[in-house]
Amino acid sequence: MTAAPLPYRVVGNRAESTDTRTLELEPAGEALTGFRPGRFAMLYAFGVGEIPVSVAGLRHGVLSHTVRGVGAVSRALCAMRPGAQVGVRGPFGTEWDLASADGDLLVVAGGIGLAPLRPLVRAALSEPEAHGRLNVLIGARTPQDLLYRRELAAWGRPYCGVTVDRPAPGWEGEVGVVTALLDRASFTPQDTTAFLCGPEVMIRATARELRHRGIPPERIRISLERNMHCATGHCGHCQLGPLLLCRDGPVVGYDRAEPLLAVREL
């Protein structure tokens, strides 16, 4: 069925950084089901347009989405006040599949890429006995761009590290690429599942480094971004070679993605 969007009410809109906000949505009527960490929704800003946005939180029937305002639709969504309504379609795409990761967990995020990883981290924290050690490595442009600041303290089981591209006065943390944090993390590579999301260059560099350190490619899961209009496999925009990323992604095993990402402009 070609679903039309269902109206959801904005019940919260919190600033995460200068250009990024987290919206909390509640169904205005009928509710969508089946959202899981890694999957995404199509969010419609009335009259402006519709864009893919990952699930950034799932609690008590409230759907959270963290949106970075980069263009017409994302800015319109960021500007939604509580009480306003947005259209939601979904859920779409593949999930992180935390359940299949029984060893150590390595979560690596760059920028807005932390948004789809947040519900994964929260799920892992809620069932510590089901997994090994949880490591969260976060890269941000500047300290001001760091998302979910108040939550991070609770995420290191044992390690949660942050690095920035450009420090600001008062920043005492790490500066540089996120892979530099890997030496601080504790994991047994052969027994680790990695979850990566961020700019494609960061994903590629990190995945290469993780392979180098001995994590098997099929245990490196990456979430990829492409243009998407329908999210139902009919518009053709999200192709990456043989993959339709709205259907076969956004979460893809690096064993499948590596040869595709190696081809320029695929």
């Binding site: 070609t2 039309a4 969007p5 205005a28 947005v86 139902t232 518009c235 053709g236 925009h237």
Partner: protein
Amino acid sequence: MAAATAPPDTEESRCVLDREGIDALVRELRADGHTVVGPTVRDSAVVLDELAGAEELPWGWGVELEAGHYRIVRRTDGAGFAHSAGPQSWKNFLHPERVRQWTADRAPDGTMTVRKEPPSPVSFAFLGVRPCDLSAVRIQDRVMTGGRHRDDAYRERRTGAFLIVVECTEPGATCFCVSMDTGPAAHPGYDLALTEVVDEAGHRFLARAGTPEGAELLRRLPHRPADEATSGAARRSVEDAAGRMGRTMPPASLRELMAGSLDAARWDDVAARCLTCGNCTMACPTCFCTTTEDVTDLTGDHAERWRRWESCYDLDFSHLPGGSVRASPRSRYRQWLTHKLGTWWDQFGSSGCVGCGRCIVWCPVGIDITEEAHALHQEGLRRQDGREDGAR
């Protein structure tokens, strides 16, 4: 009505229709409430349009096709289906260029109400579907309705559509259905199949039903049992057509050829000629890509979602906030060709090309999909030779 259980195709289930039979066919379909669409001559082309009667078919017209060239020509035999693919295809009707998907209204308190577009009331009958185009319809069936999410607009139009194939007896110079295994004989999926025969014994059609609905319709038309002369002539002219294909594909697995050609030098060669105009994608009967348009009226409180065809040749097609993924024309031609012949298999379980030749004819600079495939094949062989020489 796709092939339910096809009645047995025996000599008894075949019959012969004369021109009056075709007249009656259009009349009966219209009486049944179908919008009959078929080929007709307009603006110096054989186009697909609604037919009020069989007299509007392109009797006595043929086409002359070449890369970047299309011309209709008079025929002396009066045949109505001796033309191959024109500028449109059945996707213009099943997957129209522009459809409204839903409308939304916003109340003063911010409440949003969304209304899905009501089902399309038309029930099409397509007369004169070429076997390659029947395969194209089946390919779009899989794309639009074969996955987890079915497209309602397509399904509604398709479910009610009655398909009458006319087998190919006059392939064009740009045709290569034999290479793609889609023609010139009809594969299953039709309600009714016709083969046009024009010889000393007259102008007539060998007819056979593919569905119970087709058989039922055939019974209502003035017909006579199939005679050996007509059956034989029909068979021979289709077999003969198979030997007269204007184009061929290289003798290789096109899927593997595409997967192994992503860094070929040939892409630079074709990119130097391609205008990235997207004509090939608009004319292609299987190309399905679309974009969305969200519009509002002057009040700003009534919004509509439209979907319209879009081409992978558009720079914006792969737009991301950081810039387009496929910025170079090289990568966009490569995307089109490798999708058609290669990755379509991975995505939808078949080739995305049926060998109709439209992309060749309607390319303003005459880029030929078969020539490009041959060139990639040759380049692959040369590379292989080079490797073997190097290994020696």
